[in-house]
């Protein structure tokens, strides 16, 4: 397989973008990518999107987006893995370039959530309908149970969860594209409205609109497009039982562990080689579980790592320098690609006030549902 590089990125701000439709968001991000590389002919487009059909009544996103980008004719299709759709789209694009089948592949993620849909209900379609949703539960409830399991097993506290939100808001305040550009205090988090015990409002990522896009090409052609290519060192993808009740340990995210092991193997790197990471903190508890599944911390010790400031900007391994899903926003299908863009900016040294000094290796972890699917990618400045 050929080495693959990311040579250009484009991203809308994340937030309640009332004036932009699903297609507008895609075109804004994709055009930024193409403008950066002088509009070469694309070989293929992958659109990560969780639920255009339910959010805005629009399916068949491949041709729609190609058409509105002005490149109808180019092969284009949608990739779906719930909130991991963006990461899964990158994986599809990566293999297409790595295999030699294509040279220039645009990978985008897009979601329009603020358009009148019952967002919690739509998102819940990514849980197990028969085993979970029919009984009335939605994602805040599922992640609350994961949090309870983690508390039970490891002694994690509500304060530990709040620390994650405080950190990610601190980072998000520095990100011009973040939905929430303000810090929150531990007290604000701990006294925010209860959503699903023990998860409070400020433990939960918001409902967001947004799009993100990257251009992939063979590493040996990367310098045609940029002086600062970022190589995809390797990736891993895994699934786990869909229903929380079917998992051996609900406090552990097995799909993440498995995807991480595969990504580490594919890249020849390990957790200690990572300088900066973007992980899927859809709820504060998820970041703790993910840090443990990625082997950044022993099971039960991610909270300690966070409290010690190790994952804050300036710490040993800054996590979610973008603000994470919590502060940057979480337009579900776009999230996986937006995570990649944050890492690309970090490795290129273009992250401004959020810059992690001397970042050479970065990791992204994107997750669908309550962790039934997860995609991990590892990137390197070359």
């Amino acid at each position: 397989m050929r080495d693959v590089a990311i040579v250009a990125t484009g991203m809308t701000p994340f937030g309640e973008l009332w004036h932009s439709s699903l297609r507008d968001l895609f075109v804004e991000a994709a055009r930024e990518v193409l403008d950066a590389v002088d509009h070469p002919l694309l070989d293929s487009i992958y659109v990560g999107n969780m639920s255009g059909g339910q959010f805005v009544g629009q399916e068949h996103l491949g041709p729609l987006m190609a058409d509105h980008l002005g490149v109808a004719g180019v092969p284009a299709t949608r990739v779906e893995s719930a909130c991991a759709s963006g990461g899964a789209a990158l994986r599809a694009g990566f293999f297409e370039v790595a295999s030699g089948a294509s040279d220039l592949v645009l990978v985008a993620g897009v979601e329009k959530m603020n358009d009148g849909a019952d967002v919690t209900g739509v998102l819940a379609t990514a849980a197990d309908q028969e085993a979970e949703v029919y009984h009335g539960i939605t994602f805040p409830g599922l992640y609350a149970m994961i949090a309870r399991a983690h508390m039970e097993k490891h002694g994690t506290t509500e304060g530990d969860l709040a620390t994650i939100s405080v950190k990610n808001h601190r980072h998000g305040a520095l990100n011009p594209k973040a939905q929430f550009r303000q810090e929150v205090s531990l007290e604000q988090v701990m006294t925010s409205s209860m959503v699903s015990e023990p998860l409070r409002l400020l433990h939960c990522s918001p409902v967001s609109d947004g799009a993100a896009a990257v251009l992939l090409c063979p590493l040996d052609r990367a310098r045609e497009f940029t002086d600062k290519p970022v190589k995809i060192r390797g990736g891993g993808f895994a699934t786990a039982p869909m229903a929380l009740a079917d998992r051996v340990d609900p406090s552990a995210l097995d799909a993440v562990s498995l995807a991480a092991a595969r990504a580490y193997r594919a890249s020849g790197l390990g957790p200690s080689d990572i300088h900066v990471a973007e992980v899927h903190d859809c709820f504060a508890i998820a970041e703790l579980c993910v840090l443990e599944a990625l082997c950044f911390a022993q099971p039960g010790s991610a909270a300690e790592l966070t409290r010690a400031g190790e994952t804050t900007l300036g710490g040993r391994l800054p996590v979610n320098t973008s603000g994470g899903l919590k502060a940057k926003g979480h337009p579900v299908g776009a999230t996986g690609v937006a995570q990649v863009i944050e890492i690309v900016e970090q490795l290129r040294g273009e992250a401004g006030a959020r810059q992690v000094a001397n970042a050479v290796i970065g990791l992204t972890q994107n997750m669908g549902g309550s962790g039934a699917s997860s995609v991990v990618h590892i990137f390197e400045r070359v």
Binding site: E16, W18, H19, G116, S193, M194
Partner: protein
Amino acid sequence: MTGIVGYGAFIPRNRITAEEIARQWGKDPNAIRRGLLLKEKSVPGLDEDTITISVAAGRSALERAGIDPQRVGALYIGSESHPYAVKPSGTVVIEALGIGPAVHVADFEFACKAGTEAMFVAFGLVESGRVEYAMGIGADTSQGAPNDALEFSASAGGAAYLFGDADVLVDVLETHSFTSDTPDFWRREGEFYPRHGGRFTGEPAYFRHVSSATRAILEKSGYKPSDFRYAVFHMPNGKFPLSVGKQLGFKREQMDVGWVVSTMGNTYSGSSPTGLAAILDVAEPDDLILITSFGSGAGSDSFVLRATDLLPERRERAPTVRSMLDGRRRYLTYGEYAKYREKIIVNH
């Protein structure tokens, strides 16, 4: 100069607290108090509706004006809870007030803006010389679906404004309206409760229209926020009017008097007109006053007003808004509230 020659407000005596509604639905009352800045709201009695509220407010307006009701040539009621879908509210109101039959009457609807809409048209007809006096009323027994966030705010009340050219209590110096197709909140024919676009009702709807109308009227009139003694903005909850006022450069002390929402609730078409009535209850001669309404769908009407020397003595002729808000009240349980608001439906 054409202006307000009489005004009156009415707020029913029944109240329900945010705590009581929150208790019913297992919600956190502190979050409502803190987030929406709502403590309690008025509730109409079984024999109170938009018509009775309009009559009570209209009667006070006539008292303050001291004119023969027969000289009123037009009367308009803005409401989204007219008791009948077909059959005007205004006809009952004119009969009760002794107005007409030589009078032009119409019922208006524009979500929460219908009251200032009625005021705008009444003012325009008097200013043009078509009629001698015209009354514009905003009144509602607002609907909010059980367990909807609206249930904490939707309340009952209203205010009436009589416009004329002589013995004016408040001069109307400028008006401005800002309207666009922004479907943030609606109720279809036959539906009991309005539906809304959640957070879409905020930035693109309320904030855009209120701030655009206000900025435009400031520019037209040449006044700046600090020139005003009082300002009132439509009050869908406690937070929005204070936020938009702050964004526009108004200070809390300019808004406090008209900000009656925390204990009155949102009287929809009656909201900003009742806030204005509370201001007129205390304003001194030459005080400049700004009112900007908001109605979903969406639009805002702004008025720049100035109190005259006549206002202080005339206002004594009828009850003040504060006397109704702070006076005798009857607190309802959720069960009583459900009965009064006809939320309990017998399905034979």
